[in-house]
Amino acid sequence: MHRTGELFGQYKTMEQQRETAALGMWIFLSTEVLFFGGLFMTYTLNRSTYPDIFSEASKTIRLSLGAVNTVVLIASSLTMAMAVWSSQTGKKKLLTLFLIATLALGCVFLGIKAIEYHEKYVEHHIPGWNYQFEPNADVATNAHTQLFFSLYFGMTGLHALHMIVGAGLLIWLIKESLRGRFTPEYNTPVENIGLYWHFVDIVWIFLFPLLYLIDRH
């Protein structure tokens, strides 16, 4: 059955029904906060234990690519917010356009991320058997910088996985918007996937300074 914006029996008003859907999404997002929170916790602990070696490792990732990606992702949040506005005001063509723009920016982000990962691959900075921080690096340096890169790949990888899921959801939204399913009366999927997309943006807003910036000076 496809929902079109009818009022379900357990609600008194459309507003109440809408707020309940958003509340459910926020409860899911609060579990996501703790999901990523564990990784941020691990990062904080290890960085405070090995500040100098984390600083050395952090300096090897390219700031320019991270900064461009921050701009790309915030721009995609803007287009997503505009998509929500288009669906609320019944502008169906604009909705499709803004959703496509959001998907395109998301793909640009993932593409730049792939370039960054490839650089790390070439430099032997991917944790594992072929890991070497720099030629003739001692055992302790290799071990502790590897800890940084494990966290780098773990955190940005989990973030990228969320982006891929988001891109899949956007493709579905684009398909449904082309069928004209979203109206000012019914746009819950657009609003909730919008919340998810902005959440993923917020994770990056913290990853960027922690991984790329704080040891740059």
């Binding site: 906060v33 941020f40 916790m41 721009a75 803007l78 943006d201 807003i205 910036l213």
Partner: protein, 99 residues
């Protein structure tokens, strides 16, 4: 219950502009050695800007400012539990050598 609040594109663009300015600020601040003035100032500045940016996204892009109090409570609860995890774990690890 009030009528469903629609945030205008003007607000979205103002927020986007502010986020861009903050991104430039945080990159510029990271290039300067602020730690010489106060230990750890680089981290404090970077995280303060990040918290400000995240707050703007939550309040305006995610409509938290216009949401009912019950939704705002869920948001505050998630930040609270995150703070509990960070605070309790770090205070444990930091205080272990004191024994």
């Amino acid at each position: 219950m009030s009528e469903h609040h629609i945030v205008s594109p003007k607000i979205y663009f103002i927020i986007f502009g502010t986020l861009m300015i903050c991104t430039i600020l945080t990159v510029v601040a990271a290039e300067i050695d602020l730690n010489q003035y106060f230990p750890g100032l680089n981290v404090i500045v970077a995280l303060t800007i990040a918290v400000f940016k995240a707050s703007l996204v939550v309040l305006f892009f995610m409509h938290a400012k216009y949401s009912p109090k019950r939704t705002q409570l869920v948001i505050i609860a998630s930040i609270f539990w995150l703070a509990v995890m960070l605070f309790m774990t770090m205070s444990d690890y930091i205080s272990r050598p004191w024994l």
